[in-house]
Amino acid sequence: MIVRKTKNSLGIAILGLMLFFTALFLIVFLARIFHMGYDVLSWEFISSPPREAMTAGGIYPAIIGTFWLTVVSIAVALPLGILTAIYLVSYGKPRWFVQIVKIAINTLAGVPSIIYGLFGMAIFVNLMKMDVSLLAGSLTLAVLALPVIINAAEEAMRGVPHEFREASLALGATERQTILRVILPTAFPNILTGTIISIGRVAGETAPIMFTAATFYSRRLPQSPFDEVMALPYHIYALMTEGTHAAKQVPIAYGTALVLMFLVLSISAIAIAIRYKIRKTRKW
């Protein structure tokens, strides 16, 4: 009995230790980013372009670049994703086609992001002659975000009670009217959270934009979708691996990381908060 009791306490202590180590690492990690980043953070830092070969100045063009990359990619992926989810949930025939689409979604979701980068480079940049540009990078990111958005939209639509669909059809509505007037509005908040989470992911991706959109150093903002852009994640990488003034560049990298983390985490936090609220107030 004593042996079993000791084993029990020991086992639970080890589990607690695992959680403790995880938490410890994360605290050190977050503290480091916040502490180092906070030192360089200033209004000038987020509102002015880099100067003197990235050793001084701010990151304004990278913020704008990341903003546009994210907006354009979501604008492409969201309608495609929702329409695909509608097909899967509401029409779903023929079965073999649905199966193929699902396999494609799952496979896409598991493709490493660097391969998305290669794909974007081969197809959008070279084959379609978009060059390294905001457009090519956004399309690459859109392909990357698509499986996430489809899965979120599908799950949200499947969460709509079957009774709503029946009630609508029994009133003489067509399938399309049922989708547009009952299912989508009901699923919308959940689709929104899924989409917001994918926005966070898109904003933080580096590898897919390396060869498709991003540039090390630009003092001006993109003037058209065919311009190359700076982006926050790529800027961090560039600061750490290019240039010769590490002592000046590392603090800027931390500052950029803090801004990026703030953007991504606040976006995700909004999504989680919305979902929490939905779960609390939902009546069906």
Partner: protein, 289 residues
């Protein structure tokens, strides 16, 4: 009139769902089209087994054995860290922690999963690596050990949140049955809860493996980048993903070096594809039960 609109709408959703398939084939087509020509010059066997990776020499060599090894070592190291930490945290959160801690821990884990990898890379490169070099008196802090730690911490939220899901779907009645027979909490966890959640947990580990082996930024920034067969965990390596990312900029479209990087991506694609397939099977098994 109504049916025309309905058919049109259905048609649009059908066409939209074709895009996923088109994109997947686009990815497969592009990497194979750009990568396969390499094998006219280099045999597949040499490509996979040669340890010589000198793509830019006058007489270039394209053996990715050391790169494969680099990827596997770093991934293995990451999983050795992430499995105990992720799974342990998940069990603690769902079986031991108070409901209040659980309510905080779950969203925090989700939030952490959304931290961009490049920020982890920065942390490893600017903080962890110099620290390790000083403490352990190493030549370089950019090595298998440090990149495993960073990559592992990146994978922890994935494993933790997915296995927590699996564990929390185990019916309460099973636990109660075990307690009613006089089992301790630890016995209930190891003999009842974990076996019942097994497939979900394995799925989470496989997903973590796929994420780790496909991750680029962390290994690009922290693994050191030398294409050699490592003799210890404190040696630098050059995983496949970081090779692609680091060298693509130096290539000319269509030259052998360019083709070889795409050929690496084919290998990477196949590895992740198979992992994904196995994960699917594990999950299908779960959902049909």
């Amino acid at each position: 009139m109504i049916s025309y609109k309905d058919k049109l709408f259905k048609g649009i959703t059908y066409v939209a769902s074709l895009f996923v398939i088109v994109f997947l084939f686009g990815i497969i087509y592009s990497i194979f089209r750009e990568g396969l020509p390499l094998f006219n010059v280099v045999s597949i066997k040499e490509f996979l087994t040669s340890t010589e990776w000198y793509p830019t020499h006058a007489e270039p060599e394209f053996g990715i054995y050391t790169l494969l090894l680099g990827s596997f070592y770093v991934t293995l190291g990451a999983l050795l860290i992430a499995i105990p930490l992720g799974l342990g945290s998940a069990i603690f959160i769902s079986e031991v922690a108070s409901p209040k801690l659980r309510e905080i821990a779950k969203p925090v884990i989700e939030l952490l999963a959304s931290i961009p990898s490049v920020v982890y890379g920065l942390f490893g490169m600017a903080f962890l690596a110099p620290l390790l070099r000083e403490w352990l008196d190493l030549q370089t802090g950019l090595n298998i050990f440090s990149s495993s730690i960073i990559l592992g911490m990146m994978v922890v939220p994935i494993i933790a949140s997915m296995s927590e899901d699996a564990i929390s779907t185990v019916p309460k009645s099973l636990r109660e049955a075990s307690f009613a027979l006089g089992a301790t909490k630890w016995e209930t966890i190891t003999r009842v809860v974990l076996p019942a959640a097994k497939s979900g947990i394995i799925g989470s580990v496989l997903l973590g493996f796929g994420r780790a082996i496909g991750e680029t930024m962390v290994v690009l920034m922290v693994s050191g980048g030398s294409a050699q067969i490592p003799k210890s965990i404190f040696d630098s390596v050059r995983p496949m993903t970081s090779t692609i990312a680091a060298e693509m900029g130096e290539t000319v479209i269509g030259d052998l070096h360019y083709q070889s990087l795409f050929a690496i991506s084919i290998v990477l694609f196949i590895i992740t594809f198979i992992t994904n397939l196995i994960t699917e099977l594990v999950f299908l098994k779960r959902s049909s039960r």
